[in-house]
Amino acid sequence: MTRTVRIILSSPLSITGVLLIGFVVLSAVFADLVTPFPEHSGTVVDFAKLNQPPQWPNIMGTDLVGRDLFSRIIFAYRISLVLGVVVLVLAVPTGVTIGLVAGYLGGWPRFVLMRTTDVFLSIPPLVLAMSIMGVLEPTLMNGMIAVTVMWWPWYSRLVYNIVLAEREEGYVLAAEIIGASRLHIMFREILPNCFPAIITKMTLDLGFVILIASSLSFLGLGVQPPTPDLGSMVAEGAKYLPDSWWLTVFPGLAILIAVFGFNLLGDALRDILGNEQ
């Protein structure tokens, strides 16, 4: 663990990643304290300051109803992070369990589980999530469900492939010989060996979940106003290009910064934990 930390801190790129994520997470957690207008995350209207370009104290300008864009972007990070974490908390255990069972048991469980996984994987991810959001009312909770439904198959595929290799390893055979239960072998013996790959993927995915969620709301299928959301800000602002460029450029950069941070860190982890897809 300390080795990992040391290696991360030795590369300027991963330090940048840590700093970016630190900025995003801390500002989101303490949004009420760090933003100049925390009340602007809700339904506030200031007719005196509609659609203003960046200037003090609105360093990123104001939106069409006069709310401070910087404050709204920081609050949007909060929603994005909650969404990302919840999706992974739901998707990873589901996908991992399915992958483990399919890979270790083989036979008909493998056929059923992996073909189901294939069905989900053969609809382009965004299209699947869109179709689901089309059914559900666009709320934060349903957004999480839609993204979770499209996310778990990637973990079952990943774990399945690892298990196929691990199954033949000596320690598994040894456990089988001494008569350990299948559950024990799957979850106690094989699963820990999947952790490095899973953790790396989770770090990268936290960024990608934020990205997909913003894409959904860009299409009008995500979190609804007045809740601030980066994707819908870009979509709404895009109508006012090129005059009111700040409405799109800043939320767009905000997405870029967050996802870039997670990517830098995930990349570093991948190098350290030494696994390629």
């Binding site: 294939d118 609809i123 382009p124």
Partner: protein, 341 residues
Amino acid sequence: MKAVLGLLAGRLAISTLVLAGVSVLIFGIARVIPGNPARIALGPNATKEQVAKLAAELHLDEPIWIQYGHFVRDLSRGELGISLYTNRPVTTDIAQFLPATLELVLIAGILMIGIGLPLGMVAAKYRGGFVDNLVRIVSLLGVSAPSFVWAVILMLLFAFYLPLFPIAGRIDTEFAIEHVTGFLLVDSLIAGEFRAFGNAMWHLFLPAFALSLSGIGQAARLTRANMVETYEKPYIEMARSYGFPAWRIARRYAFKPSLIPSLTIIGLDFAAMLGNAFLVEAIFAWPGLSRYGVAVILRKDLNAIVGTVLIISAAFLIANLIVDLLIALLNPRIRYARSAR
């Protein structure tokens, strides 16, 4: 070759099975959509009888498995029902809108390979150095923003501030190209209109580039990783010790083996681009199937949703099939490994 054909047959069978699964899944999703599509389509002034009549025509009053039966029967005749959004058969809509999307995605795919692979090669050659880090940052940036953000940024820079590229549409209105295939690049060549071809290409560039950026990043990173791995193989060391020129080593010995894993990811990225086209088409007013897809989802147009998703999934499966075939052709070992499994 025989083995390759066998592989193809097997993959086709599985793909068909998967596609059937997709149809059940998406049909189920589309049918539980709340609200009465007949009412939405007919508008507020329609009488209750009119709504009931349309609902009956759409079989909305029957249980879902019977509806699915109707759907399969129609599908076997090559019909996907009527879209309530355009009031036309869904197949007509798809035939009209799909080429625009495919053209966009194909060009984006070419950009992804044409830019991503060389970037990865350069990075691998100078690994650990400045160029390597630069490529790494660039490719990470590429994957770190959704394609709609890139679309907006590119449009702002190269269409608004520097008006180098057009901002909307597939071709300038002055070119009246006869629609034979629906692919403007092909149609303009058929008509022998090279200026129209150039014009269509010019319209394609920004949206295709925005769409390909994340793919470029992926392809570059992957190629680099695979080449670095191959560079450490003994036969490369040997070639180096014989004093072969560096670029020859890179091209002849390191690149080819690294191509195979890259191809797999390219197949996946192609799929992602089919989805992401939804985002780019919206910004560039691209009259493709993805824009149609968004519109019909928002309008709960059941037949059109099912049709669009099925077609996109089929395109995705076919793309992966092609990639698998290419891999099998490039490297027989993979074929054996697969049949062993």
